[in-house]
Each structure stands twice: as structure tokens, then as C-alpha cells.
């Protein structure tokens, strides 16, 4: 059994896989963190400045919307390359985990912001009104009513974004970011080591599954049904 296993996966260097997995997790964690830090306020701003909302502001909404749409329509692979000078500017390198995070964030934050905007729009207007009627400030409306009420939707948005980031990290391998995607391309694709390819793909699949089920569970928990 063990012999069969090792002969089937003869090319697999488990230490290498372990390092690549760690890189992927680091890239994912780092980029998800910054995506939320940037995307959440952007999503709130999109929502508030939108039509018939608290801070309705046509020009601001149109401008934000435009930037978000441009970034979302750019294929990630192009963004990776276009971003290189900027990435070097802020992280000092365009390689490795650090080099991958800025393009990942710029690619994912607009997407996440849109999902946040949608989640906030799902909040019943009546709840905002009731909060206003209590004499809440706009700040209080956002933090005491809007965000808590949209929490299940925002968690679902984080889940979808995290999964999107997993596939982006695999692509980031192309510009030398490392991680499981990089391994799959260098060994699995370029050197025809199918076993390495299969192992990395299975690991990515497991990662996506775990993210999805944790996300779903949190959404159910916070839905308070």
C-alpha cells in the first residue's frame, strides 16, 4: 500500500508542498485582511452615497462606481503585471508573498466592496428608520444598526471573496509569488509531473471547501433564525 502510494506520487516533495501551502495561506490571510480593511469602508461609502440612501451623492457614487467597475473588469493576470511598479514601491519587492499581496488586494477589494454594498442594501429600510427615530447619529446608524444587521451578508461576502482570492493566489504564482498555484504550474504543468499537479489541486480544493463550510456556518449562526 505504502509502496504503491509512493510510486504513484513519486515526484511529490512533501516538504516543498508544506512550504507552498504555508505561502498560500499567508497570501490568503494577508490579502483577505487588507481586502476587508479597504473594501468594507468602500462598500459602506458606496451604499451610503447610492440612490435614495442616507448620504445620497450622485457624483461621488458615480465616481466610486466607475473605479470599482474598471478594477473589476480588468483580468487579474493583467492587474498582476500592471501593478508591479506600484507593488515594488510599497513592499520593496514584486516577488514572494509580500509581492503578491498588493495586486491581490487591488483585485479583490472592489469586488468585495460591491458585495458589501449589496449586503447593506438588503437591510430593511424600516430598521434604519427606527434607528433614526431613536435619535441616532449617522455614525450610530452605521455601527449600531446597519453593520450588525448586514453581518450575515457581509460574512457571506467575505467567504466568496476568500474563495476568489484562493484562485487569484494560484495565478499570482505566475509573477513569482510562490504558493500551491506556483508549484502546480512549475512542476505539474511545465515539467509534466501530474502527481504534483493533482496534490496541489486537491489541497486547493480542500482549502476552498473549508472556507465555504466555515463561512456558511457563521452565516447561519449570525442569521439568528
Amino acid at each position: 500500500m505504502e509502496a504503491l502510494f509512493s510510486s504513484l506520487l513519486g515526484n511529490v516533495d512533501w516538504y516543498e508542498i508544506w512550504l507552498a501551502t504555508l505561502d498560500t495561506l499567508l497570501m490568503l490571510g494577508g490579502s483577505l485582511l487588507f481586502t476587508i480593511i479597504l473594501g468594507l469602508p468602500l462598500g459602506v461609502l458606496l451604499f451610503l452615497s447610492g440612490p435614495r440612501q442616507l448620504f445620497e451623492n450622485g457624483p461621488l457614487y458615480a465616481a466610486l462606481s466607475f473605479v470599482v467597475n474598471v478594477l473589476r473588469s480588468l483580468p487579474f493576470i493583467i492587474l498582476l503585471i500592471v501593478m508591479i511598479p506600484f507593488t515594488v514601491l510599497i513592499t520593496g519587492t514584486s516577488l514572494g508573498v509580500a509581492g503578491a499581496i498588493p495586486p491581490l488586494v487591488v483585485g479583490a477589494a472592489p469586488f468585495f466592496a460591491r458585495l458589501v454594498e449589496t449586503a447593506l442594501r438588503e437591510v430593511d429600510r424600516g430598521i434604519i428608520e427606527a434607528t433614526q427615530a431613536m435619535g441616532a447619529t449617522t455614525r450610530q446608524i452605521i455601527f449600531s444598526a446597519l453593520l450588525p444587521e448586514a453581518r450575515p451578508g457581509i460574512i457571506a461576502a467575505i467567504t466568496v471573496t476568500a474563495i476568489t482570492l484562493v484562485s487569484y493566489t494560484a495565478m499570482a504564482g505566475v509573477v513569482g509569488a510562490g504558493g500551491l498555484g506556483d508549484l502546480a504550474i512549475r512542476f505539474g504543468y511545465q515539467r509534466f509531473q501530474t502527481d504534483v499537479m493533482v496534490v496541489t489541486v486537491v489541497l486547493l480544493l480542500v482549502l476552498v471547501q473549508v472556507l465555504q463550510s466555515v463561512g456558511d456556518r457563521l452565516v447561519t449562526h449570525f442569521s439568528r433564525k
Partner: protein, 335 residues
């Protein structure tokens, strides 16, 4: 006291003007339960929401206890709103917060930090509305009536002097409606709270309101004490509400009575006279006979009233009429 001085409101949507409230003059006394009734789109919600400026008036002045609400700046408006509770048709509770946290919300927003103070207030409020055992539940786990009780507890948290109710019972079944209305009436009595409530059901007005305004097409068409407005309706809209409530159609009624001989009268009793044995006495003294064609004995808030449609036959008709008119009842000759 809430005063409207020539207050009007026009919505502007997509470059089109929608007049929702004609210039309106209105006074609501402190401590009374004031009802607003009208068909859909009559402008009831608009009028109510102008009081705590959820809608900005297009013109006119609104005074609450002498203070010009229309002149308040953002900060003043927030402090004013903390003194005005509001409950809603669909409750508008935060689904993400427990019952206790929903009730605590206005206190937290008002800047009360002390945990023990908040807990004590919340416990007292939940006890008052009969939800002591539900503090840790989420709104999704409650029935409609219970949700509205949470809404009421929340609205009362900052000890407001005014409670605004926008169709607070419209989403509830008749029995639950009755218990929520009773709670409102109790609160009105205990806390000397002014209540302004909107409904399109006569029954709600009859159970709890002291005075009522009938709205139609953005204007108040009739207002006064509930007994007065509903026992002697003058405006066609009011008359329609009264008839709808009695599930009776005037023309249908006249058809039914077409072959009833004699004179047809409608008597309206109010207060103590409701329970006096007037008809029997008059019949005995004047020799007229009567038959009751339709009728209703009920209460308007705390006032008993009766309204009977009768046919009078034979005897000394003139004496009977004089006798009835002299008594403490309102007589209308229908035929």
C-alpha cells in the same frame, strides 16, 4: 401638546410633485390618545412622520410643548427624537440583536454607559410589556404580538412623552390586536403619555382613542371626540368608515326596510342613557309599538353607546316622538 400650523408636505420624485398633505391645522392635547384614520394614500403616515421629522415639512410650523420642532438643528433634532417613541407596522426590530439589546438600544444611543442602569431599565420595561422571560431570545423567535411588545418596550426606553404608532396592529390578528391596544391604553393612563396612532380600522379607534381625525386625499376632513365623529359622522368619508364597520350598506338597508310599516328612526344613546329602559317606558306611556330593525350596543373607549334602528307603529306617534326627543338620546328620522 402637538400643534400643526399650516403644515404641508409635497414629495418630489423623479421631477414630479406628489402633494401628500394639504396645509393642515391640528392640535393634539398632552396625554390624549389621538387617532388618525383614512384610506390608503390619504397621508396618515406623512402627517405622523412629520411630527418627529422623519419627513421634512414643505412648509408650516410644528410645535411640541411650545418648542418649534421645524427649527431644530441636527443635534437638537436627535435630542428631541429621544423624547418621542415610535412603533411600526412591521415592528422594525434588529434581527441581529436579542430582545434585551433591542430594548437597550435607544438607551445606548442616548449615551447611557452604565451597564447596571441599562439592565435595570430593560428588565423593568420587559416586565411591563409582559416579556420578562424572553430577554435572551432573538426577534425571529417571537410571535407578531410579542414583537410589537418589544417594539413598545423599545419605544418607551427613553421615557418619551409622545408615542407615535404607524399601523402598529395592522399586521396582527384580532385577538393580538386587542391585547396590544389594551397595553397601549394602559401605558397611556399610567405614564400620561400622548399617543398618536394611525389605523384604517374603526375598531382600533373605538377601543383606545379619545379624539380622532379622518383623513382623505391629504387633508383632515373631520375631527373631534371619537363618540361625536363616529356616532354622528358628517363627512362622506367618515360615513363610509362607519358603514363599513357595521358591515352594512345604506341602500341595502333601505331595501330591506321597504316593506316595514310605520315610521323608521335611528336612536343614538351615549353614556349612562345607554342602559336606561327608555323604549319600554315610551311604548307603555304612548301606546306606540316598536320593532328593532338593527342595532348595536358597544363601547367607545370608556363610553358605552347604543345605536338602534326602529320602526314605530300605532299609538300616539306625536307624543312618542316628543317623549323620545326630550330624553337623553339623539333621534334621527330615517323615514
Amino acid at each position: 401638546m402637538i400643534e400643526f400650523h399650516q403644515v404641508h408636505k409635497t414629495y418630489r420624485t423623479g421631477g414630479r410633485d406628489v402633494p401628500a398633505l394639504q396645509p393642515t391645522q391640528l392640535e393634539i392635547a398632552s396625554g390624549e390618545v389621538f387617532g388618525l384614520i383614512g384610506h390608503s394614500g390619504a397621508g396618515k403616515s406623512t402627517l405622523l412622520r412629520l411630527i418627529n421629522r422623519l419627513e421634512e415639512p414643505s412648509g408650516g410650523r410644528i410645535l411640541v410643548n411650545g418648542e418649534d420642532v421645524t427649527a431644530l438643528d441636527a443635534d437638537g433634532l436627535r435630542r428631541f427624537r429621544q423624547r418621542v417613541g415610535m412603533i411600526f407596522q412591521h415592528f422594525n426590530l434588529l434581527m441581529s440583536k436579542t430582545v434585551a439589546d433591542n430594548v437597550a438600544m435607544p438607551l445606548r444611543l442616548a449615551g447611557i454607559r452604565s451597564r447596571s442602569e441599562i439592565d435595570a431599565r430593560v428588565a423593568a420595561l420587559l416586565d411591563r410589556v409582559g416579556l420578562k422571560d424572553h430577554a435572551r431570545k432573538y426577534p425571529a423567535q417571537l410571535s407578531g404580538g410579542q414583537k410589537q411588545r418589544v417594539g413598545i418596550a423599545r419605544a418607551l426606553a427613553t421615557e418619551p412623552s409622545i408615542l407615535l404608532c404607524d399601523e402598529a396592529t395592522s399586521a396582527l390578528d384580532p385577538q393580538t390586536t386587542a391585547s396590544v391596544l389594551q397595553l397601549l391604553a394602559e401605558i397611556n393612563r399610567e405614564l400620561k403619555l400622548t399617543i398618536v396612532l394611525i389605523t384604517h380600522e374603526m375598531d382600533v379607534i373605538r377601543r383606545v382613542c379619545d379624539r380622532v381625525a379622518v383623513m382623505d386625499a391629504g387633508a383632515i376632513v373631520e375631527q373631534g371626540p371619537v363618540t361625536e365623529v363616529f356616532l354622528h359622522p358628517k363627512h362622506p368619508t367618515t360615513q363610509r368608515f362607519v358603514l363599513e364597520d357595521e358591515a352594512m350598506d345604506e341602500s341595502e338597508m333601505h331595501d330591506d326596510f321597504a316593506h316595514v310599516p310605520g315610521r323608521i328612526l335611528r336612536l343614538t344613546f351615549q353614556g349612562d342613557s345607554t342602559y336606561k329602559p327608555l323604549l319600554g317606558t315610551v311604548a307603555r306611556e304612548t301606546g306606540v309599538d316598536y320593532s328593532i330593525l338593527s342595532g348595536r350596543i358597544d363601547r367607545i373607549k370608556d363610553t358605552p353607546y347604543g345605536q338602534l334602528t326602529l320602526a314605530l307603529i300605532g299609538g300616539d306617534m306625536a307624543a312618542a316622538m316628543t317623549r323620545l326627543q326630550a330624553a337623553d338620546v339623539h333621534v334621527e328620522v330615517l323615514r
